[in-house]
């Protein structure tokens, strides 16, 4: 038995159990031979998929992990937490149960992902040794013999070993222990060898002298982009995601990732997108090689532009959308599309900014408020039941008299979405007070039947 998931654990199976014992515990067990080579291949394929979607520096960490260097790429997902949630969620949708952790070093992240993450964990930046101090010894990736011997001697947690003087331990167990400890604490460098898909379009440039100034980097980025676009043109592709990897003198990699909404092969546009993010590159003692790869490249369809003498063409704003998306994140730029639902907060949904235009719009029977509160706020009112608007109401501590009102607009609950909405009803009123302020209030319930709602009043929006 090589691996057990939650269902297996519940049935009583454990890793390392012999097959015969497992067959006794679960009678109808299906048995297949383990195939470690295929497992390694599958892990590589998963790493390639993550390379395309999430971060530029990805490597497989056998037997069951993947290590990702996410600096320079988390802005595209809206932050580290959003990126981890999206990753775990996407893997869960494909049926892969995963745990993920972000930390300052490979060793610390490896330990946290296996022993702390439920299912995600983000260690605060600059955490040092505190994040892994309480973890058991096995979290340090030591060979089984060494960790077994350490347990015999009475060491259990990482902080026990850290507290000891280093020299006698190394004398007894060898340099591996010291190396793994330093890697976990971030004091030893552990460069990740990024995985490269076989047919990737990439261009490289190595420098005789390490470069560090921003203008020099920008100039060479421009030259690399020209070479890359020529290579893409040979294949008839346009780039949708570009990765710039800079290998520094001390063997660490700095990465910058930019994305576009449509395949692009324009030198100026791509150079501008990358140069917008140059200040996130930390050259350290110098950069000795730069690699520019088109991680996602799609066929570029040539379109004939209409002549401007005949008709007014709509200007192309995809480059503006790309620049803004690379600045605020892909999820923060969107259009709003109508959803056919009576409930106001469900009648809008977000779609990508470059989605094709459509003429769909909301029905125009009743006026709608310009600002809608995220949560309807309860108000105290004086109102005649069943269908009269309030005479006065108190909102946020201020009492107002209602001078004019319109309504009720009856909105029924969507019984197919939630059972609780089977009989629920909201009666919306547009009310105006003495000063001219207009509000959108509703009473939950139709005023007669107690099962249709609590008959309390709420303020949902402000009209202009």
């Amino acid at each position: 038995m090589l691996a057990a998931d939650a269902a297996a654990h519940a049935a009583g199976l454990r890793v390392g159990m012999p097959v015969a014992k497992a067959q006794i515990i679960v009678p109808a067990l299906i048995i297949k031979d383990a195939d470690p080579a295929a497992d390694v291949d599958a892990l590589d394929r998963l790493a390639l998929w993550i390379l395309q979607r999430f971060a530029p520096i990805v490597a497989a960490d056998p037997p069951d992990g993947i290590v990702i260097d996410s600096t320079g790429a988390d802005h595209l997902h809206g932050g580290e937490l959003a990126m981890l949630d999206a990753l775990i969620g996407r893997l869960a949708m494909s049926g892969v149960a995963a745990r993920a952790a972000i930390a300052d070093s490979w060793g610390a992240a490896h330990a946290l992902a296996r022993y702390v993450a439920r299912p995600t964990f983000i260690a605060p930046p600059g955490h040092g040794a505190s994040a892994i101090a309480q973890l058991p010894l096995e979290a340090l990736r030591l060979p089984a013999a060494i960790s077994g011997d350490l347990r015999v001697l009475g060491f259990e947690h990482v902080h026990d070993i850290r507290a000891q003087p280093r020299a006698p331990l190394i004398l007894r167990f060898g340099p591996e222990l010291g190396r793994r400890l330093d890697q976990a604490l971030g004091q030893d460098a552990e460069p990740i060898e990024p995985i490269r898909p076989p047919d990737l379009v990439e261009v490289r440039r190595a420098f005789a002298e390490p470069i560090g100034a921003a203008e020099t980097i920008a100039r060479y980025v421009g030259k690399l982009v020209i070479d890359l676009c020529a290579a893409l043109e040979d294949k008839g592709l346009g780039a949708r995601r570009l990765d710039l990897l800079c290998r520094r003198v001390d063997n660490r990699m700095q990465a910058v990732r930019v994305g576009t909404a449509q395949p692009v092969r324009d030198n100026k546009r791509l150079t501008r997108l990358i140069c917008d993010r140059i200040e996130t590159i930390d050259p350290g003692f110098g950069i000795e090689a730069m690699t520019l790869a088109a991680t996602i490249a799609e066929p570029l369809v040539r379109r004939q532009l209409m002549s401007s003498l005949v008709e007014e063409t709509a200007p192309d704003i995809s480059d503006l959308v790309d620049t803004l998306a690379n600045r605020v994140g892909e999820r923060a730029i969107y259009r709003i599309a109508p959803v056919s639902s009576d409930v106001p907060e469900r009648s809008v949904c977000r779609i990508p900014a470059m989605a094709p235009d459509s003429d769909a719009t909301w029905p125009n029977h009743w006026p709608r408020p310009a600002r809608l509160l995220a949560r309807p706020e309860p108000i105290e009112t004086v109102a005649l039941l069943p269908d009269h608007p309030p005479v006065s109401f108190t909102w946020r501590g201020i009492r107002r008299r209602v001078k004019r009102a319109d309504g009720p607009e009856r909105v029924f609950g969507e019984w197919w979405k939630r059972d609780a909405e089977l009989a629920a009803v909201r009666d919306y009123f547009r009310i105006e007070d003495d000063a001219g302020e207009r509000y959108w209030v509703y009473r939950s319930g139709d005023g007669e039947d107690a099962s249709t709602g609590s008959h309390r009043w709420y303020l949902h929006g402000v009209f202009g």
Binding site: A314, P315, D316, I317, D319, L320, V321, T323, L324, R327, V328, A332, I333, Y334, R335, I336, A337, P338, P344, S347, V348, A353, D357, S358, D359, A360, T361, W362, N364, P367, R368, P369, A370, R371, L372, L373, A374, L384, D387, H388, P389, K403, R404, A405, D406, G407, P408, F429, R430, I431, E432, D434, A435, G436, E437, R438, G461, V462, F463, G464
Partner: protein
């Protein structure tokens, strides 16, 4: 002492000053409101394209910015092309903008975390030049920031609207600070058009033109945008004395 030579110099100087001030705008580069009283107060006969304008709400509108948003939506709806709307708080209700004339397919929303990023996105949008209008909801707008935006907008046909919106009523005094915007507006709500039956008529606004470059300030009582984004002058209805509390008869009758 009006020799022809000195006449020539004076008129030349006048022309140069007019060009510097932006008077010599072609008719195509303004967006008129369609109301004669309002258009005659604005230099060029309408809202200048390729320039920055400021709109704020008055009273409670300084914090919720509802009327100001609809005013900006009405202006944006009458331009051609897509509209970029940069926000920090996602509480705008898109069906209301559609009722003001801004179709949902035309508006692109950018949600930024703070004022600085909102202004940077607005600058990018103005500099692109292919949009019809760029609206940004900001709280603080300094003179330098507004000058940058004005420079980015110059020469293009995009209208830039800075929708001023604050978190607390006390911060609204910030609207008094000078900026480099071409015109400055304040939109406050007024009681709606009185109807002879119970109900709420067409909404009304007090639209104050607080500052116009090379123009005078004025204020107008106008009716809110219809579904093409146009404002209107209120027609005075015959005021019939309604029965006292007659509206209690039920708003829906």
């Amino acid at each position: 002492m009006s020799t022809p030579a000195s006449h020539l110099t004076v008129s030349e100087l006048r022309e140069r000053i007019a060009r510097l001030e932006g008077h010599g705008r072609r008719a195509k580069s303004v967006l008129p409101f369609g109301i004669i009283d309002l258009d005659t107060r604005l230099p060029g006969g309408g809202l200048a394209l390729g320039a920055l304008h400021e709109v704020a709400g008055g009273g409670n509108g300084a914090v919720d910015g509802a009327a100001a948003a609809l005013f900006a939506a009405g202006v944006a709806a009458r331009t051609k092309g897509k509209v970029l709307w940069c926000i920090t708080r996602p509480d705008l209700f898109a069906p209301a903008l559609a009722q003001a004339g801004l179709a949902p397919a035309r508006a692109i929303y950018v949600e930024a975390g703070d004022d600085k990023t909102v202004l940077a996105c607005m600058e990018e949008g103005l500099r692109h030049g292919g949009l019809g209008a760029v609206v940004a909801e900001v709280g603080r707008l300094t003179m330098t920031a507004s000058r940058r935006l004005q420079l980015a907008a110059e020469g293009k046909s995009t209208i830039g609207i800075a929708l001023r919106r604050w978190r607390r009523q006390t911060e609204a005094a910030d609207f008094g600070q000078p900026t480099a915007a071409m015109t400055r507006w304040r939109v406050s709500v007024l009681p709606s058009t009185p109807l002879p039956v119970p109900g709420v008529g067409r909404h009304r606004w007090l639209v104050e033109l607080i500052r116009a470059r090379a123009g005078e300030s004025a204020d107008f009582e106008l009716e809110a945008c219809d579904d093409t984004g146009r404002l209107a002058l209120p027609a005075d209805l015959v005021h019939r004395p309604a029965a006292a509390e007659g509206w209690r008869r039920g708003a829906s009758a």
